[in-house]
């Protein structure tokens, strides 16, 4: 059955018509053209589809559009402001924290959620925060470097406001 769902997407109010069985990932990619959020395993294992719902990283592939009614959804496209990347995004570039790049949006969403919650995480906390994001190029070391660099260089609390 078609339903109207209203939520906030990257800071803007959004109203969409959806089927009950449409996932947030399919809505983002196929209906809204936001292809920064990647489709990997489609069953909540790989983290490529990670977005933030009410500031928490979740797998959009196993989240129904119906479940985001009234929520705030942020995708990778919602991070940069006026063409300026977030410090974390910039550190991913500066630290060569990707190879094929497919896991990058998910990694950045998980790491952004971590830094918003915990601006100066330990290495263990960083590793745990990205435990649900697989990088099949196995580029984890550079990814952790980038997150550490962003945490060290930034007054993250002030930035995220």
């Amino acid at each position: 059955m078609k339903r109207i769902v209203t939520f906030t997407l990257n800071g803007e109010p959004k109203e969409v018509i959806t089927e009950d069985n449409t996932t947030l990932l399919d809505l983002l990619r196929d209906s809204l053209g936001l292809t920064g959020t990647k489709k990997g395993c489609e069953e909540g294992e790989c983290g490529a589809c990670t977005v933030m719902i009410n500031d928490r990283p979740v797998n959009s592939c196993i989240t129904l559009v119906r479940d985001v009614e009234g929520c705030s959804v942020v995708t990778i496209e919602g991070l940069e402001k006026n063409g300026v990347l977030t410090p974390l995004q910039q550190q991913f570039i500066d630290n060569w924290a990707f190879q094929c790049g497919y896991c990058t949006p998910g990694m950045i969403m998980s790491a952004t959620a971590l830094l918003n919650r915990n601006p100066h995480p330990t290495e263990r906390e960083i590793r745990e925060a990205i435990e649900g994001n697989l990088c099949r190029c196995t580029g984890y070391a550079k990814i952790i470097d980038a997150i550490q660099a962003a945490a060290a260089a930034t007054n993250w609390e002030a930035e995220s406001k």
Partner: protein
């Protein structure tokens, strides 16, 4: 992967949800975070014509502590909130640890502890600690509410004691007295997004070095999470020496009926029960350092 068609229903009271379940019968599936509903529906392992979301029912997302009753966890309370709650860390850190062992951060941000037990996987990470701590499962039914002990909740692989129209509304974990301690240890190849090869939870009540009472619960070694009653009997009334723990661990192996699968052979699982029963009791006695979870 295409998610088959279904109708998504959003009851706003638990009574309405229960009545809908009675009306719709076996074609209806109750869902909270959906992390154990959407993936099996995608791959065809679970069929449902109706998905009943509990998320619009107020008052089911809570995490409280009562001096008499203990920790109270609602059926919409996310695993991530249980994992990170200072209250749970203080009152029963093994419960936080068990919550944290489930899947990944992303899954724990949507999945609930109640959903984790209702899924009734033999390797369910939160079941052993609930059984060991003698938790009570609160159930709303079409007739009247009822409660069951965690150990009686599980009836088989993916099967619980829930009757038609019944919905779990919460979990109550009794408080730990000063001489009571608990722990849960999961043995898996990967730390995240992996199922337990075995999971062992222990609860002990001590009188000095003597064990006055204890409960040991084992995961992933039978069709349901189970109690290791015979091993417990070995420990009760005695000082917990290494020798005694070894003896109890060997007896716990006999309670197991594990399967061989992609993660481990039955023999290995049984042997790991020997190792992890001892470790979990030692961990309970040793306690969780602040910041270690």
């Amino acid at each position: 992967m295409v998610l088959p068609e279904f109708e998504y229903l959003v009851p706003t009271t638990i009574e309405e949800a229960s009545n809908l379940l009675v009306e719709l019968g076996s074609g209806a599936r109750v869902m909270a975070g959906g992390t154990d509903t959407i993936p099996p529906m995608k791959d065809g392992a679970l069929k449902a014509d109706y998905v009943l979301s509990l998320t619009r029912i107020p008052g089911l997302d809570y995490l409280e502590y009562d001096e008499k009753e203990g920790l109270k966890i609602g059926c919409l309370t996310k695993l991530f909130d249980i994992q990170t709650s200072p209250l749970v860390h203080e009152k029963n850190p093994a419960v936080s640890q068990a919550a944290k062992y489930v899947a990944s951060t992303q899954v724990r941000n949507r999945g609930t502890m109640v959903g984790n037990i209702c899924n009734a996987s033999p390797s369910c990470d939160t079941a052993p600690i609930l059984i060991a701590c003698d938790a009570t499962i609160k159930i709303h039914g079409p007739e009247k509410p009822r409660e069951v002990k965690a150990v009686d909740f599980f009836k088989g692989v993916k099967r619980t004691c829930l009757e038609r129209g019944e919905i779990v509304t919460g979990i109550v974990i009794p408080p730990l007295a000063e001489n009571e301690h608990s722990a849960y240890i999961k043995h898996s190849v990967r730390r995240a997004l992996d199922l337990a090869i075995v999971g062992v939870a222990a609860w002990v009540q001590m009188d000095g070095s003597v064990c006055k009472d204890c409960r040991i619960a084992l995961g992933a070694v039978a069709t349901t999470p189970i109690r290791a009653y015979e091993a417990e009997k070995v420990l009760i009334g005695k000082a917990l020496t290494d020798e005694l723990l070894n003896e109890a661990s060997i007896i716990a192996m006999r309670n197991c009926h594990p399967i061989s699968d992609v993660r481990a052979s039955a023999e290995y699982r049984r042997d790991m029960i020997r190792v992890f029963v001892k470790r979990s009791i030692k961990k309970a006695l040793e306690g969780y350092e602040e910041g270690s979870i």
